[in-house]
Amino acid sequence: MGSFLLKRSGVMLLTALCLTYIVFFLTNLEPNLEKLTKSEGNMRMSDVQVQSWLEKNGYRQPLIKRYGEWLGVAPGWTRTDEEGKVTGRCIKRAEDPDNPPRYCGLLQGDWGFSLVFKNDIKEIITEKLALTGKLMLCVLAVMVPAALLIGVIAGMREGSKTDRSLSAFSILTTSTPEYVSGVIFIVVFASKLGGLRWFKGTAATAMENITFENFTLPVITLALYGVGYIARMTRASMAEVMTEQYIRTARLKGLSFSAVVMKHALRNALIAPFTVIMLQIPWLLTGVVIVETLFNYKGFGWTLVAAVGNNDIELLLACSVVAVFVVLITQLISDIGYVFLNPRIRVN
C-alpha cells in the first residue's frame, strides 16, 4: 500500500507540474502580455513602449525561469536601472521593500495580486471557494442520495417497468446540460411565462444568506445533470451484483427480497459508484462555472469567468491551480478508496 501511494503521489505531482506549466504558458502568451501592459500602463502605448515595459517588469526572461519564480523555486528577478534604483519581483510584493525575500511564489504563499478585484488573490480564492463549497455541499447532498436511490431501485429488478422508466429518466437528465435545464427551470419556476413564481431566478442574495427560495434552482440545476450518470453506473453495478451466486444463495436460504438487497447486495454494489462520484466532482466544475454565471452567484466559477474575461493573468493562474488540484486529489481519493472498498483488489 505504501509504495502504491508513493508512486501514485509521484505521478500526481508530475502531472500537476506539467499542467500548471501548460496553464502558465497559455496565460502568458504574447497577445495576453500586450493586453496586460496596455491595461497596466495606458491604452495608447506604442509597440516600443510595450516592449520596454515588459522588459522592465521581468516578462522577457525565459518562460521556464518565470514559471520557477511564480512557483517559488527560482529566486525572483531583480533589476537595477540607470539611476541605481533596484526593482524586482519580490520587492514589489514585499511588506518591507528594503529587505525583500529571495523567493516569492506559490510555495511561499504569495499568490499575487488581482487586477480586477484589486485585492490579494489568496483572500479572493479563499472567499470564493467557501461560497462554491457551500453550493457543492448542497449539490452533493441532493445528488448522491438521489442517484444512488434511483440506481439501486432500477438495478434491483433488471428489466422491470420501474427499471425502464428510471433508466429513461437517467438518460433524460444526462441529455440536459446545465445551461439547458437552468434556462428551463428559470422560465418555469421564476418567470412570468411559467406563472409559478416559486423560486428566484438569481442566487445573488444567496451569497450572504442562503434560503430555500434563492438556492433551490442552482442546486437542482447542477445536481440534475450528474444524477443520471451516477444512477446509471449504480444501476449497472447493482444489476451485476444481483446475478451473483451469493445473492441466489441468500434468496434460497429463505431471506426476504428486501433483506437480500439491504444486507447482501448494497454493500457490494456501492463500490463502483463511489469511484464515479469522486470522479464526478471535477466534472461538476464545468457545471459550477455555468450555474454560477447563469444564476449570478459570485463563487469560484464566476471568478474564473471574470479572470478570463478581464485578462487577469495571476488570478486565472491561481484559479487553474486550484482546479487542477481538485481534479488530481479527487482522482487520488477515488483510486485509494477503490482499493480500500474492494477486497478483491490487493495492491502489492
Partner: protein, 384 residues
C-alpha cells in the same frame, strides 16, 4: 393581421416541418421493411428506446438538410418592429407571415434561427467526433497492442489532458488572442494528420502484396488527404474548396483535442482485451504485420463499443459546443448556433423567455436522441 393563437402556432410549425415528416416516414418504412438485411442498424427496431432515439436524431438530421424549406425567414435578417415580440406575432409589412416563435433581442425570427442552428451543430459535432476517433484509434491501437514504454508515455499524456478541467482548457484555448500566436494552427497541423495516417496504414497493411491496388489507394488517400489538409488546417487550398473560418478552426481543434484522449483510452482498453483472442494469435501465426492485425483484426472486432461511444460522444460534443456558445466563445457572433442563442436569450430571461426556450429544447432533444440511440445500440449489440 392578428396574432396567432397557441393552437395555430402549433399547427403551423407542424406544417412547416412537412418535408421532414415525409423524409422521416420514407426512411423509417424502408429501413423497417429491410431491417433483417441491415445488421445492427436493422436490429435497432427491436428496442423501443433505440427507435425513439433514431427518430429524434433523424428528425434533426433532416431538419438540417432541409432547413431552407422549413425556415420561414432568413435567420440573420432583422425586421424593424419585431424586437422581442411574442410567439405568433405577424411580421410588420409582410402579409401572411408570422414570427412563429417570436422575435429575439435583435428582431430576428427565433423559429428560423433554431432551424438553421441545427445545420451548424450537426456539421461540427459529428465531424469533430470523427477526427477525435481517428486520433484516438491511430494512437490507441498500437498503445494497447504493443504496450511498454510507448504505451506508458501516451497514457501519461492522455491522463494529462484528461486531468485538465474541460472548461479551463476551453477558456485558455478558445480565445481571439490565441489565434494570433498560431497555437491552434500547430494543433490543427498535428491533429489533422492523423486521419491521413490512419487511412494510409489501413490500405498499406491490407494491400502490401498487391502493388497496383496499393498505389491506387495510397495515391487517392494522399491526394485527397493533403488537399483537404492544406485547406482545413492552413487555409491554403489551391482550389478553395476546403476552408475553415479561423474561429471555427480554433473551436474544432479544441473539441477534437478534448475528446481524443478518452477515445484513446477506450481503444487502448479494447485492444488490450482483444489481442489475447485466438483469431489474433492465428493472424500472428500467419505472419501478418502488426498493423494489419491492429487495423483489420482488432479494430473490426472492437466496433460494437466504439459505435456506441461514437453516438454518446456526438451528444457530448454537442453539449460542449453549446457550453462554448453559452460563454460567448461560439462560432461567429451572428450565427444561429444553439449555444450562442441560449446565451443571448438568457440575458433577458426573466422578461422575455421565448427566445431562449426553442434552442434549449432543440439541443436537449438532439442529445437525448443520440443518448437513446447509443443505449439501444448497446442493448442490441450485447444481445448476440
Amino acid at each position: 393581421m392578428d396574432r396567432l393563437t397557441a393552437l395555430e402556432i402549433f399547427t403551423r410549425i407542424l406544417t412547416q416541418f412537412t418535408p421532414v415528416w415525409i423524409g422521416l416516414l420514407l426512411i423509417l418504412v424502408v429501413s423497417f421493411v429491410f431491417r433483417r438485411k441491415l445488421g445492427l442498424y436493422g436490429k435497432l427496431f427491436g428496442s423501443s428506446i433505440g427507435t425513439v432515439g433514431l427518430i429524434l436524431v433523424l428528425f434533426w438530421i433532416l431538419t438540417a438538410l432541409l432547413a431552407d424549406m422549413i425556415a420561414t425567414m432568413d435567420p440573420l435578417t432583422q425586421i424593424s418592429g419585431m424586437k422581442n415580440k411574442k410567439p405568433g406575432w405577424p411580421v410588420s409589412g409582410m402579409e401572411g407571415q408570422w414570427y412563429l416563435l417570436g422575435g429575439d433581442n435583435l428582431a430576428r425570427d427565433v423559429f428560423s434561427r433554431m432551424v438553421y442552428g441545427s445545420q451548424i451543430v450537426l456539421a461540427i459535432a459529428p465531424a469533430a467526433t470523427i477526427f477525435a476517433f481517428m486520433v484516438g484509434i491511430t494512437l490507441g491501437l498500437p498503445a494497447g497492442y504493443y504496450g511498454g514504454k510507448f504505451d506508458t508515455m501516451l497514457s501519461f499524456l492522455a491522463n494529462l489532458v484528461l486531468a485538465f478541467p474541460v472548461i479551463l482548457l476551453f477558456f485558455l484555448l478558445v480565445t481571439p488572442e490565441i489565434r494570433e500566436t498560431g497555437v491552434p494552427l500547430v494543433m490543427a497541423g498535428v491533429l489533422f494528420l492523423f486521419p491521413i495516417l490512419f487511412f494510409m496504414m489501413l490500405f498499406y497493411s491490407r494491400f502490401k502484396e498487391q502493388t497496383t491496388k496499393l498505389y491506387i489507394t495510397l495515391g487517392i488517400t494522399l491526394v485527397l488527404g493533403l488537399w483537404a489538409y492544406s485547406g482545413l488546417a492552413f487555409n491554403k487550398d489551391p482550389l478553395g474548396v476546403f476552408y475553415m473560418d479561423p474561429n471555427l478552426l480554433n473551436i474544432f481543434v479544441s473539441v477534437v483535442f478534448v475528446n481524443s484522449p478518452t477515445v484513446f483510452r477506450i481503444v487502448r482498453g479494447l485492444a488490450i482485451d482483444i489481442k489475447t483472442r485466438d483469431y489474433v494469435a492465428a493472424a500472428q501465426t500467419r505472419g501478418e504485420s502488426p498493423w494489419y492485425i491492429m487495423l483489420w483484426e482488432v479494430l473490426p472486432n472492437a466496433r460494437g463499443p466504439l459505435i456506441v461511444d461514437f453516438c454518446l460522444r456526438i451528444g457530448y460534443t454537442t453539449i460542449l459546443l453549446g457550453t462554448l456558445g453559452f460563454f460567448g466563445l461560439g462560432v461567429t457572433p451572428e450565427s444561429p448556433d444553439w449555444g450562442m442563442t441560449i446565451n443571448e436569450g438568457r440575458k433577458l430571461l426573466a422578461v422575455y423567455p421565448h427566445p431562449a426556450l426553442p434552442p434549449t429544447i432543440a439541443l436537449m432533444t438532439l442529445v437525448l436522441g443520440l443518448n437513446l440511440l447509443a443505449d439501444g445500440l448497446r442493448e442490441e449489440s450485447l444481445r448476440d
